[in-house]
Symmetry: C3
Subunit: 670 residues, 3 copies
């Protein structure tokens, strides 16, 4: 097995099986022009590899692998289990997913499988083993890419059985489950395990603790499916890393912290849905998450890779919007800046048919004579010059807690407001830090806390006693903690902590919240932060001080004059509380003040520092519209640093709107 080569990975999903034979030759020539180093092959190829149960046809894939190898391109070889073949449905109807209302799906799209069905689990292992046998020694093989974007839910009987097994492990006894789920409410007490079902269609509101455990179960069950395959692959090729590409969205029941412990490389797919600066922020958010997932596991960090992004367009949900000139490179380099081992795309060549025939490709429908392919080639060239940065560390200035379980818990149907939005709360915390030029690490709430001066905890709905203690200790040791509304509300089962919000954090924060005042869409009140009146929408709270002091107060509305932001000294640190959904500028000002960093700068400059044995690198992205003059000294760089992209000295560099620079140099000795 070759060790992974030094260059950054650059390429995309490659599906020559969708094209005439002669297209492959053109592909290889274009890949050479673009500087492609890695392609993903075979993601949905099961029905071609095994056209009938037990009959394999590897000929076409052999040719693809050999030709790619001949062209010097490495392969991320996928197991095709995300799309069982049509024959599989007919042979194993019980292995199709079943909806909450009992609808059993059939093939006709992708991802149509019941992850709990024994027949599917066995078939997955069989095709994985066959691939491992066939290609384990192939010289093009660089990476195993298991499955694709795990995320198919099912409420089947197979799932019911597996869910109960999982619940027995989590809750030990049925009485413990009854307690954790508060089944005394609405007469849901279970008197035997077989009465416990997935949260199927029922007359009225579901039990939120039931739903929360179901999401946890789905994450673990899918992880089991991944591990089945990983173990087969590791046994055959111990030196080839195994990964799977994680999708991101409310529909994905994957706890990335737990999954990251089991992959050799954290791979993500990233599809920002906004153009311009907002898309830049979304990109930075995704990359910071991925790096954090990769780093924050007990056994130490591992590499991560942007496995999919759109080539030519931004998908906004309603329409595809062409990326502006330079946007392809800017997004890709934002990931590389944050530690990605490259920049991969879905897909190499835009498809002519199928459900995604209007998805973009590195080679668009218009062909290589196109702006997109020209920008792809330029990006390939730039990435070729950045290999040296691959293993350098990323230095963070602040941290934000990320907790998928709180996200899931806040997806319940009956919170005090439909407008509570965990993801937006986390995004906002990240956004205001990013806008102020900081690099953000995400941290998981159930592990050691980071060595940064500032930790923001947005709407951490679920909080264990131990995690609360850890936050207190971290603050005591000198950290600045900023907690926002709806944190510490419930224990990990989702049971509300009584006696005043925010439950587990009352003492640390020195406050007691008596009532919540959610606000209707369009409704606002003021919040006086320093001399400036900021705007509150969606959420406010009636806060009592029990040791903290008020830093900002509500202005107007039923809470006029009451504390809105509070601060309490705790040991060598400070614990802040933000009781309202502030506008970005308001939250930015609070965080800036908490960090003791003067006014909230909105610099439109994304700055990421990397450091390695041989030097430091500063990635600069101007996500505004106006050019900015760069001062290397202010960035902590000593004289003589250069921009790797333009090849010019950093001193006096003028970065145009939308532009990127990568300064290499040495730290200023102060």
């Amino acid at each position: 097995m070759p060790t992974p080569p030094a260059p950054l990975w650059f390429g995309g999903d490659h599906n020559p099986e969708q094209w005439p034979e002669e297209t492959l030759a053109e592909d290889l020539e274009l890949m050479r022009r673009a500087g492609v180093t890695l392609v993903t092959v075979g993601v949905f190829s099961w029905s071609l590899l095994e056209p009938r149960e037990g009959e394999y046809d590897f000929g076409w894939l052999d040719r693809v692998m050999d030709r790619l190898h001949g062209a010097g391109i490495r392969v991320s070889l996928a197991t095709p289990t995300a799309s069982p073949p049509p024959w599989f449905t007919l042979a194993h109807p019980d292995a199709m997913p079943v909806g909450a209302e009992g609808t059993r799906l059939v093939h006709g799209s992708r991802d149509t499988y019941d992850v709990c069905a024994p027949a599917y689990r066995q078939a997955s292992v069989r095709i994985t083993r066959a691939l491992a046998e066939r290609y384990g020694d192939h010289p093009a093989l660089a990476l195993w890419h298991v499955h694709n974007e795990y995320g198919t839910w099912t409420w089947s009987d197979h799932c019911a059985r597996a869910f109960r097994d999982w619940l027995r492990r989590r809750h030990d006894t049925l009485e413990e489950l009854n307690r954790a789920w508060t089944t005394a409410f609405w007469g849901q007490h279970y008197s035997a395990w077989e009465q416990v079902l997935p949260p199927r269609a029922t007359q009225y509101l579901a039990n939120p603790a039931h739903v929360l455990d179901f999401r946890r179960f789905l994450s673990d069950e899918m992880l089991d499916h991944f591990l089945d395959q990983r173990d087969v692959l590791r046994a055959r090729t111990p030196d080839v890393p195994v990964t799977t590409n994680l999708a991101f969205g409310d529909w994905v029941p994957v706890d990335q912290w737990r999954w990251a412990e089991h992959v050799d490389l954290v791979a993500i797919d990233d599809y920002p849905d906004r153009p311009g600066g907002s898309g830049d922020e979304q990109t930075a958010f995704a990359a910071d998450l991925a790096r954090s997932w990769a780093d924050r596991v007990p056994a130490g960090g591992r590499p991560w890779l942007l496995m999919e992004q759109a080539a030519g367009v931004v998908y906004t949900g309603g329409l595809t919007r062409p990326k502006a000139p330079g946007e392809i490179a800017r997004h890709s380099l934002s990931h590389v800046a944050r530690g990605s081992h490259g920049a991969m795309f879905f897909q190499w060549r835009a498809s002519r048919g199928g459900a995604e025939q209007w998805y973009s490709g590195m080679v668009p429908h218009a062909g290589p004579e196109s702006r997109i392919f020209r920008e792809i080639c330029e990006l390939g060239e730039v990435l070729g010059r950045l290999a040296e940065v691959r293993d350098a560390d990323v230095l963070a200035d602040a941290a934000v807690v990320w907790d998928p379980e709180s996200w899931w818990a806040m997806g319940a149907a009956s919170l005090p407001s439909k407008d509570l939005d965990y993801l937006e709360a986390v995004r906002q915390a990240h956004r205001v830090l990013w806008r102020s030029g900081r690099t953000v690490d995400f941290v998981r709430p159930d592990r050691d806390l980071p060595q940064v001066p500032l930790l923001v905890v947005p709407s951490l709905y679920l909080l264990s006693d131990r995690a609360a203690e850890r936050l207190a200790r971290w603050t005591e040791d000198g950290g600045t903690l900023v907690v926002t509304y709806m944190s510490g509300i419930a224990d990990p089962t989702g049971t509300v902590r009584t006696g005043g919000y925010p439950g587990a954090l009352r003492d640390l924060l020195g406050i007691r919240v008596e009532e919540m005042y959610p606000m209707a869409p369009g409704e606002t009140v003021g919040m006086d932060v320093g001399m400036v009146r900021e705007e509150v929408s969606r959420w406010s709270e009636h806060v009592h001080l029990t040791g903290a002091e008020a830093v900002a107060r509500y202005a107007g509305g039923p809470l006029d004059g009451f504390p809105g932001v509070t601060r309490r000294r705790h040991g060598a640190g400070e614990a802040w509380y933000v009781s309202a959904h502030l506008n970005d500028r308001g939250l930015g000002r609070v965080i800036t003040e908490a960090a003791g960093a003067g006014a909230f700068p909105e610099e439109d400059l994304d700055v990421v520092r990397r450091v390695g044995p041989e030097g430091v690198w500063v990635f600069l992205t101007n996500h505004g519209r106006h050019a900015q003059r760069i001062d290397p000294a202010r960035l902590g760089l000593g004289p003589g640093s250069v921009d790797l992209l333009s090849g010019t000295p950093a001193e006096g560099l003028r970065l145009p709107g939308g532009g990127v620079a990568v300064l290499r140099g040495h730290p200023l000795t102060s």
Copy 2:
């Protein structure tokens, strides 16, 4: 059996089974502080009382009953049939409700049962009998509370069979059903009873007569389920009143007039969804309905009780909004003013878990050290002073027809406008009367009409010949009748009366409507009412005068200059017709003019007069924002009356915005 005690009922749903053992002691102490007199126990306790089929565990409930009794608190003991236990689903899958599309639901929420299923009906009677046996002699028992908020629909085969049985009773012969449903339209003629099904999923629009009869059937079938239990309870405890708490909404197929004939006490749940004055109006509407349901039954009136309301918040659908200071008392007293025998809440203690963990309680999550609990204690104290008013009569100034069947009929998919809204038409009639300081009785269209000078008939879509005659006679005898658009349109089967609208009321009103002119959202025309131009939206009609005179005319639009409001003398009375959906002020002006009462006053003062053998009481609620000075003489009170709440003389009383007073005195002798 003790006779019900004199005090007003005050308390809420009490669920100690959801809490640790020690919470009960705290509950009793807090109930004592709050002056609680009654709690509802056991609403959803089936799975705890009968954890396995036929195995009962009453120990915990024995303790709760005994402890409450020891604390001097009476119990409204619920039968738990609204939530069959999880084991029941597995034992009787055919007793789960089935949706119109064939989806069979399972446990996991509440209310998941098929009211037509024999197994469910039998199990309901069994657990009811077991409770009656166990607690029939318990000294705490004050009231039997059957089930909870009837309202679960089902389209199952059990339901099909029961529906056919009901239809045979209603229509005698199949040919009669064919005629009533106009099955000649779209080829729906039935040639055998077994062809008749519930209105299940079909290709296109359902037959509205079919759907209307199905709603009637569901009401009767649920009533049957109630009567099963009532009869068991009455047999065991003839002196303990039996009730069930009625929910209110489009999804509830309960004809309250018919149900009220069979309960010993009319109980309602009331959840206004708007804050401030609008919520006050919603509260008055619910209370006036409940009193009317309780009074307008053949055998004479019976008591009624507000069984559930929210303690600390208003649920608006999208968010929970804290009640403003004083709002808890104001809503509660609005019910008591209108005859409720008390003010009960859902719930005593806000839950920590379950689907309603964010519903409020008399003891909120924050605990007794809270504004909410303080206001609860103040309310308990006030109610303690109002026991004397309990049995006094409520005097109404006007009446409005309420007809759930017309509501259901106007829920059909294919009326001339999607914006026709029966409930809003009734609410509007009530609202403008309430705003003018009148107390409103509701009346059912198929019984004797009331002894008030003014009767408003809003959008009474279904009207029998007999009911039409009754309206004519009532008018002839000197009443002022105000009928609004879409009344008298159809006979009780929903068949349109041809020859010109409003069908059965053409002669009485002296008009003939040739065409309807519904209006699009945002579209308006004028209506000249006296010298003032009011606004019409949603609905207008082309009216011909055939004996009536025009009182107001359309201004603008295709009906410019045509009659909009008409009046016809009939015997000693007058019959008015309002052909359009007027704005509130416009309808108020029309009604005021019809009542001969001068300008339409919007006084922001809710005035309810009560009279008993020992005096008169006037409940005053200022639902505006500005203080009002009260003149007892103008309210018909002689000198010496006092405000029971403040203990001060009524003379010179100044009622602040949102404030309440209860004046006790004697009538002015004029």
Copy 3:
């Protein structure tokens, strides 16, 4: 068999079976007053004709037929197969339609049948044969009206079998199907025919080629059902024409071009959903389509008839809006102007019950003493005077391509924009031509192109190589071709043509589109057409000139200054391309310029020329609000022409807003 009589057809659906016996006598008297010549009988009468399987009851229908004949009224006799009787559901549950999610529907509405079920197909033929036997010789019989508004989808197992049979015929081999559907994408490769299913519920996006073929299949399968009945009827009554009334909408999977080849008379139902001028345009659009379907079949033209329209109201979806005075006649005459052999209504008498009890009738609920019935009588009188125009040809000035398959293909879930709307693109092309006073023929893309100077091709997504060649040859021969965005994009399987859009038309148009720039709702850019800046919304494209010249350029936005509209000379003709969704005025200006016809006139005058052996007729409709003076010479009429409606000379005629005139005369000899 009598040959069809000379008069225009005038009447409606007649359902005396829904009314008491005595109503029929009144009907006949009112029909006489109105001048009714034809009624449609029996559309949904199956459950009355065959109340039990195999038991027929024709007595009532005999009486209706005889009485109508006695009154001199002809009958369009319907087969009742659109509504199988309730007993049929119970006897053949497998013949009910099944939804994509597996829900099986039941009777309770209309149209509830599985068109692929053998039991339903056989029962349809049986009842048709029974009717043919019974009434084949009846003197009232003028027309067979098969079924009603074909359009019930099904995803059943019967359908799966029939779909596979159809696919075998279309694609020959399974490999050909795999290629056509690009099943290599997402692992959908089929290895046996039985794996192919209808596009049932699946996990994620469906394959658009799969869905497109399914719509084609449904059209053909329903056509088969029609042909079964047509053949039975033709065998019995070779001289009686057979038709079926075509509905129009996205839910109707009927390829009208293919169906028109198999009917003896093209019948449509037309329900414009907008009042006023917009409704006039919708009416003209429907009539132009119907005439074109009737004319453009290989064996030459056939008659067409407006079979259904609403009498008194416009259904807007949300509400029914009364037609303005004169609108009933204006819409009817717009159809007759465009060649309809009459004007029929749904329905004769507004129903009292059933799902459409609020649908209007020629005799409304209010009865004959009504504006509607008076206008119906006036229309009957007018139509009586227009019989002479029945067989005259309609002269078109321009043509527009209509392709239902492109409509279906553009209904796919994953196009570059959700706002792409094929129907609106065709409507817009028709609308701007209509507004300029032109009469429009529609043409099918796979047949000979018309002899008009101007051909507009709006968003013709699917295009075969042969059709592309035909367009090129037509242009070369001197035509002016105007192609709009998203044309020629894909081949008939829906596979995108690569190398630059618009695929098959690149060479003809002399352009190459590199990228699409869809625009978000509310977003606009400018387009400079001549000296005027017009507005672009929804859609724009990055166009390269490869032989064409730019006629208009984008102004603002990312495409600022790039070509927006282009022109290329080709042989004796010109090929234009419109790359953006222009506002109406902008598109009108482009088309006017392409046609070399000076400024774009918005005359508010609908002008249709008819020509026959004995003269010419010009139908004029003033769809604006202001009167217009008519100049017969400008319309090409010589001296002495008269208005058939008013009986006055055409010279000096002043046509009021909303008015209609039918000028008879002879062509000006120039």
